[in-house]
């Protein structure tokens, strides 16, 4: 057989190195390209909201500049005159909007904390917000779970939907905490 790195033994060296030193073979064995934050099965083009070479996710709607009349842009001259953002003053659906559009941002956490205050609970497995449905309390309640009909917020159709749940308390998120500096 070929003795140097240009035969099968050379390839075998790489294959064996992969077990001990994966960093050594990142080029030879490559990486899972479906895990780079791009939806490669998307029927639409990816470039219009491509977040850039270092982005783990595509752009969100608010990240993409659209050419709008300049007067629509908030001028720094009036920036201070605009009301501060106060989540406590907003209705639930605006809080959900903040939660679902500001992914990866402080705003998402802040919206979650406010929703929690309003007795919504985030189910960490189902990845939905749930709250009591008035008059439809739990039909079964123990120290670790309760079962019954509750409202969950359906982000696809943007409305509250009643649904039967078996709520395992360990799966409900505790009160979200904001980073100390905020």
């Amino acid at each position: 057989m070929v003795k140097d790195q240009f035969g099968m033994v050379g390839l075998l060296t790489f294959i064996r190195a992969a077990e001990t030193d994966p960093n050594l073979v990142s080029l030879a064995l490559g990486q899972d390209l479906t895990a780079l934050g791009l939806n490669l099965n998307s029927p639409e083009n990816l470039y219009p909201n491509f977040g850039g070479p270092w982005a783990e996710h595509p752009c969100r709607p608010q990240d993409i500049d659209y050419h709008i009349p300049p007067e629509y842009l908030i001028n720094c001259g009036i920036r201070e005159k605009l009301a501060q953002i106060k989540l406590t003053k907003y209705k639930d659906d605006l809080l959900f909007y903040m939660f679902y559009t500001n992914t990866g941002e402080l705003m998402q956490l802040a919206a979650a904390a406010e929703l929690y205050t309003r007795e919504w609970r985030y189910h960490m497995e189902e990845k939905v917000w749930i709250t009591q449905a008035p008059g439809l309390g739990a039909v079964e309640k123990t120290s670790t779970y309760e079962r019954g009909t509750y409202y969950f917020f359906d982000a696809q159709n943007w409305r509250k939907v009643p649904k039967e749940f078996h709520l395992d308390y360990s799966k409900l998120e505790n009160r979200p905490t904001l980073p100390t500096q905020y």
């Binding site: 996710h57 990240d63 920036r79």
Partner: protein, 47 residues
């Protein structure tokens, strides 16, 4: 082994890693709701 020229390039690239471009560098300044990235729980929606 890298040639001298490539070693210099590598050092400049290595230093540039400390000044990586940020997403907001390519976006108009957002006065009212600026980007404020922070680590959110993995079970929250990331996209």
């Amino acid at each position: 082994p890298l040639q001298k020229e490539h070693q210099c390039q590598f050092q400049m690239m290595e230093a540039a890693v400390y000044h990586m471009p940020q997403a907001s560098d390519s976006e108009r300044v957002r006065l009212y709701v600026p980007r404020n990235p922070c680590v959110t729980p993995h079970y929250y929606h990331q996209v």
